[in-house]
Symmetry: C2
Subunit: 245 residues, 2 copies
């Protein structure tokens, strides 16, 4: 699908997600936010908070996406190694950011100790994104926006920076059918060929009484999406079309 | 953490998950199942059903995990490219598997057409795992178990093969505290050093009235886990320990 919008990925970090101790909700929240912003999400990667793993994955993922949201692993304990992992992946040194340290001191006051201040050891060249609603700024390193895993603070931080990611709106049409996927595979393949820039999706529901297959037609160019929709609407067996959106 | 158990990863495939059209539930189900089986899960990767992306990721992931569960993208439509992606990633040809085609013919009967039979084009050397409860076998290619995305069929297929992944049980202790992470970072780091093979985790809950930080102590060796737990229990400020499990 031809699409010139930037593409995004989410990296969620934490053994607690992978071991099932904690049900991850941040990524699901972000999926809906990015959809609303029109920023295409092309990958969600959940990995353990292990330094060699973070190094390997950030090195692999960083050049492949325009924007990466990293979630988790930025606290003061031994298993918070996200900044170190990103630094190693990008070949950057980890250096004490005095401006960030000052924010931590202001926020944590008499709780500040060496472990708290360790959170200010950031990859060299990190940008601090300040916002009136944030006690502690969001950290950006290259194309990676680094957010904490605590759901409340995560949301607050993402919402403070979200508007910088907004894209032009794109068009979506839906056809709900009582047809089998095998019966509509040919026209859908044909529509993909005929209408470049339009993505055709088909989503069967075997457990669902209301419809059998939902077909989605999606793209930046509203007229082209409309043409692909018309083509499918006219090509599918009419009796099998339940409703459209 | 020293741990000789095999490690697993999940690859969930589908634009519909990334675009937020469908809320993915299979991976969450599998996280809990793998936990119960004692098979450590070390990555969850959600990627779009695009052939070059599947090729890139399966090539990257396949050598890094002992067991990979692939979910989705095995239906009859143009966007079902999981088998092709895995074949390309592993340098295998895609060949019609006659035994699998026979299962499809038996199951789909008069609905069988070329698009349905395309589902039997499998990477060369694929193993078919049969089970009395399954109409259509599970496909394994190398260390990759390939499962469908429909939640009902996915569960049925995974449950049919799950016992082959069961591992010896491992030990877990928990300490719920009213302490700050910064206050217990030092003893936790010390426990990691003193007790090899034991994983110490700390999970702060800023929105939670009942406790502030949950500390988990986990490992294969029950006696070693117990020693690490005792060390932390005696090192943490006693007034900050709310309860243990």
């Amino acid at each position: 699908m031809a699409d010139s919008r930037p593409i995004a990925a989410i990296v969620a970090i934490g053994n607690e997600i992978l071991s099932g101790k904690i049900h991850e909700t941040n990524a699901n929240f972000l999926v809906q936010e990015l959809r609303e912003l029109g920023l295409p999400l092309k990958g969600i990667f959940t990995i353990p908070d292990e330094l060699p793993v973070l190094k390997t994955f950030f090195a692999f993922l960083q050049p492949r996406y325009d924007v990466i949201f990293s979630i988790g692993g930025v606290g003061p304990t031994h298993d918070d190694v996200t900044f170190a992992g990103i630094a190693q992946a990008l070949g950057l040194r980890l250096v004490r950011n005095e401006e960030f340290a000052t924010s931590l001191k202001t926020f944590y006051r008499d709780q500040v100790n060496d472990y708290i201040l360790k959170m200010a050891d950031l990859p060299a060249g990190a940008e601090l994104i300040r916002d009136p609603f944030l006690n502690i700024p969001v950290v950006r390193v290259s194309n990676i926006y680094i957010l904490p895993g605590d759901p409340t603070i995560f949301k607050k931080k993402f919402l403070a920076i979200k508007e910088r990611f907004r894209q032009p709106p794109f068009a979506l049409k839906k056809i709900y059918t009582s047809l089998e996927e095998g019966d509509i595979a040919a026209p859908m393949a044909e529509a993909e060929r005929r209408f470049p820039g339009v993505a055709i999706g088909s989503y069967p529901r075997y457990d669902h009484a209301e419809y059998k297959v939902l077909v989605t037609i999606e793209g930046k160019d509203r007229a082209q999406v409309e043409r692909a929709y018309q083509f499918l609407y006219e090509t599918f067996p009419r009796a099998g079309i339940l409703r459209t959106e």
